[in-house]
């Protein structure tokens, strides 16, 4: 079992659906939503919450700064 557990919070209104975070995630946690935001873009969301380890790769590559990453260490 992973030692870390993470969670990703996406600013849906700011996201432009470029898909770069989905590609950058090493554990395939993220996907683009079926719904669109106010601007008409499909926004990024967590599809596989359990797999996230909070590595922040998604946030680092995000061109629009929409992603906040949280991480806890498991005992």
């Amino acid at each position: 079992m992973a030692k870390f557990k993470g969670a990703v919070e996406v600013n849906k209104d700011r996201c432009k659906g470029c898909n770069l975070c989905v590609v950058a995630c090493p554990l395939k946690v993220l996907e683009l939503s079926k719904q669109v935001n106010a601007k008409g873009y499909r926004y990024a969301q967590m599809a596989n919450e359990d797999a996230c380890i909070g590595c922040a790769s998604c946030g680092i590559v995000c061109p629009d700064g929409c992603i906040s990453v949280y991480k806890v260490t498991l005992n």
Partner: protein, 255 residues
């Protein structure tokens, strides 16, 4: 443990720097400009230079850079950012003065200013976004366009007999005595972004040294997915396959 249990202030490991404000950027989805803006904001925030940084924004897609990073900015005429940065740095030597320019601005109309400012060894930072195309005006051929690359003004590919070769201006800058730190980075993966951030930090640290030792020049090989007519993902792939051959990543000079 659910997502709600993890999303708490004390567990935060990454977020947008506060210096990058909440205005939605006008850049196309997946544009490298956003990442570089974020890196500049992060580095300035980490160095605590919010009140000392002065950016010179160019003409090109990044013309509105002053809207997004909450520091002092000055808009320059097309290509003249290094000349303006020279003036500001000489009048206010304790400030961090940097220019943020694209390839059309820096390597075409502003070639003279760029080369002479670096050759004079001005204590400034030049951040150069090279996407090999004029993005803002509709994807025309730039001096940095690769041989054979299709743009709206060379739809059959850049023909060297007619248009000459791509201009590796960073290599020219590295030859100059006045340039102190010349590097080429990219922002297509998390690892590349981290390296680019280190390069920008080093350049900013150089520019804050009180003794004038020379200009710092950071090229970021970037994508223009709209201009290249690709998805952001494909543009990154195309960049690694084609752009990196003409513009190899790494430090060219580090004194």
């Amino acid at each position: 443990m659910t997502k709600e249990d993890i999303i708490k202030e004390e567990n935060l490991v990454y977020k947008k720097p506060t210096l990058l404000n909440d205005k939605t950027m006008h850049y196309c989805p997946g544009c490298s400009h956003g990442v570089v803006h974020k890196l500049i904001a992060e580095v300035i925030e980490e160095m605590g230079l919010q009140d000392k940084a002065i950016g010179i924004s160019p003409v090109g897609c990044a013309v509105f850079a002053y809207k997004y990073i909450d520091i002092d900015w000055q808009e320059a005429a097309h290509g003249r950012a290094p000349a303006m940065a020279t003036a500001i740095k000489r009048l206010l030597p304790d400030r961090l003065v940097f220019t943020y320019q694209g390839d059309g601005d820096l390597a075409a109309i502003g070639t003279a200013e760029t080369i002479h400012a670096c050759n004079r060894g001005e204590n400034i930072v030049v951040i150069f976004i090279n996407n090999a195309i004029y993005g803002m005006t509709g994807g025309q051929m730039a001096p940095t366009t690769l041989e054979g690359m299709k743009t709206s003004t060379c739809p059959y590919g850049r023909d060297v007999t007619l248009n000459g070769y791509h201009l590796p201006i960073t290599n020219l800058i590295a030859q100059l005595e006045g340039a102190r730190y010349v590097t080429r980075q990219s922002v297509h993966t998390a690892a590349a972004v981290r390296n680019a951030k280190k390069a920008i930090r080093k350049a900013f640290e150089n520019a804050m040294e009180p003794v004038k030792k020379g200009a710092s020049f950071v090229e970021i090989v970037s994508t223009c997915n709209s201009g290249w007519k690709m998805s952001p993902e494909d543009a990154n792939k195309w960049m690694t396959e084609n752009m990196f051959k003409a513009y190899p990543i790494g430090d060219l000079k580090n004194n």
